[in-house]
Point group: C2
Chain length 355, copies 2
DNA sequence: GTGAAAGCGCTAACAA
DNA sequence: TTGTTAGCGCTTTCAC
């Protein structure tokens, strides 16, 4: 059976390319037209008799023809492909960003190469080389923390690059970041609007830019509300529940206790909430708590559920996609853009007393 | 200076391809050799004078030449590219898998297209079309839960596909999964080896295959240890901390209390641990607890830290990469392969009494 | 309305 | 040792 069909096989022999995927040449031959005609029919262009067009399309469908995008790319000098390099090994923060970005780009028929560099410059360089070889039309760089990093490069001049949740040390680059200061102002503003006067701030390590910015927001919101910054109420440390528990316990062993805590992330907030509950302090009755990140798995599991600041990472990712598309279309974009966070109110700041 | 070099510019005019990236033609022209010679030099092949080779390489380096991988692919009929379609929007479980896979493939110089289908068959189809157009050499399909799914297709015949943390309803397909039964046996075996006799199982919804398999492991480990399955000790429900708290409280209101709990995931385990601590039951003194997933953020934050079952997702991802590479090389692989889990012991099952 | 051919960037077979 | 050329799959211009 198999051996009785040499002629057909023969026509595909000098190539047998790409696992035998049919080419436009196959379509043309079977439909009995020239390659040019087949191309015109498939691309819905040029003048062509209805009959021929349909014949070609039918054949194409029947043999499962699908244009080879690599060949097309070669011709149009655009790969319709972009790369994304992450140093977060695509963790909790990068995920939503990358997902939204991929969605946006998929809408335009652009495919995304995913590369994980895990903070290793050598790996990053290697990935970049590969991507440049693949002639990506653009690049997105993302990271675990939004601190400054050396810019990507040197690379094919004019390759559009967007840094998101990551900041290049290069004024000509475009960086998209959440507005940490504004997020903190939102949190503290919410608490002061609820009548809280003694607001503490438990947060992560100060070498994170986010920690410094959120503190700045904390301070400016306090002064805007006419509140004093109590000595010992600002507590940088680590991003863990244990730290939240520890500081909360300590603050409530003081004479001057806070009536609200703004936490640098949801884990700290959860730790604080746990410690307070166990000490018999009512949340939000005695103390209101606001977290940061709005990480559902933490915020919802906390008792009571956490009011938190959402960095709107999906929106950030989508905008990164928009910006990259614009840059690919030729626009020059640069600067550090900070996008607003939002406040998600739950029971840890308002509602039935609790504890 | 710049304007004094018009001829060079001119040579690149009919094309200006790919953002002006230099081509091998540019290298050849500047090095004053033929294209064929340049190619030989760059590919370290054929016989060529040392001198010429070096000259070519130097020019290539100077003008920043990087071979166009699309053109190479076209020629060699391999794209050195694979696709990965996820229905987990790359969440907690898929991510370690994808990361390890990407690492493995990067070692071979293969790039990975990332596609998120989010359980929408239309989006999946669309992504698949795009990937096939890009002539990927292979495909990996991954999902949020390891339940059976309709196989991908129809697609270019012979495209290697590996399902990981996902199972195709097709005996000819290769699926790589964690061994849930074995994981449960490990957990319950650990508890019974510690002398626990009354082991309860709080877990997620029964429509998850993982729940059914883990229960099976639970039962077989009980009987292997000569322990009875106490009525009401098997508690399917939902994957939440609240469920863990609820059931734990309930079990300890009974006359016949368990002396160990094997939980279907770490969230349930954490809920149980919290409830018990608040009831004054000592963990692991009175009750030992084992979770499942070894999700660090949960397992480590629990008081006491959770003993848990690790599905070794990174190893699974790496193996998926190995398998895909083999299939690309021509081997046919199929069947449902389950890979062992491991037990990670922490203080919730052994150690200082606690509570 | 249709076909022929050049060219996208590269490799490999064959000439010189 | 080096150059020439065909061809990978596709689009597009230009003849017919």
């Amino acid at each position: 059976m198999q051996d009785s069909d040499p002629p057909v096989v023969e026509t595909r022999v000098p190539g047998a390319a790409f696992g035998g995927a049919p080419t436009i040449r196959d379509v043309a031959r079977i439909a009995n037209v020239s390659i040019g005609t087949a191309s015109k029919a498939l691309n819905a262009g040029g003048r062509l008799s209805q009959e021929t067009r349909e014949k070609v399309l039918r054949v194409a469908r029947e043999i499962g023809y699908r244009p080879n995008d690599l060949a097309q790319s070669l011709h149009r000098a655009k790969s319709r492909t972009i790369g994304i390099i992450s140093n977060d090994s695509f963790g909790r923060f990068t995920f939503p960003i990358v997902e939204a970005l991929e969605n946006r780009l998929a809408e335009e028929g652009i495919a995304v190469f995913m590369c994980n560099a895990t903070d290793d410059p050598a790996r990053e360089r290697q990935h970049l080389d590969q991507l440049l070889g693949k002639r990506i039309d653009g690049l997105v760089v993302t990271a675990r923390r939004a601190d400054k990093r050396p810019p990507i490069g040197p690379l094919a001049h004019g390759l559009p690059v967007v840094y998101v949740f990551s900041q290049a040390d290069d004024p000509a680059a475009l960086s998209l970041l959440p507005d940490d200061v504004g997020g903190a102002v939102l949190a503290v503003g919410h608490l002061s609007a609820l009548g809280r006067k003694r607001i503490a701030h438990i947060t992560g390590p100060e070498h994170f830019e986010a920690v410094r910015l959120r503190r700045q927001g904390y301070r400016s919101a306090l002064s805007r509300a006419g509140l004093a910054e109590v000595d010992g109420f600002y507590r940088p440390g680590v991003w863990s529940e244990a730290w939240g528990r520890e500081v909360a316990a300590e603050l409530f062993a003081r004479r001057e206790k806070p009536d609200a805590i703004f936490c640098g992330n949801d884990q700290i907030a959860r730790g604080a909430a746990d410690a307070l509950r166990e000490m018999g302090v009512a949340v939000p009755g005695d103390v209101a708590i606001v977290g940061f990140d709005n990480w559902d798995v933490m915020a919802l599991a906390t008792r009571p559920p956490l009011t938190s600041i959402d960095m709107n990472l999906k929106a950030l990712g989508r905008e990164a996609g928009d910006s990259l598309l614009e840059m690919i279309a030729g626009r020059k974009l640069s600067g550090v853009e900070r996008r607003p966070c939002s406040l998600v109110v739950r029971a840890s700041s308002v509602g039935g007393g609790g504890g």
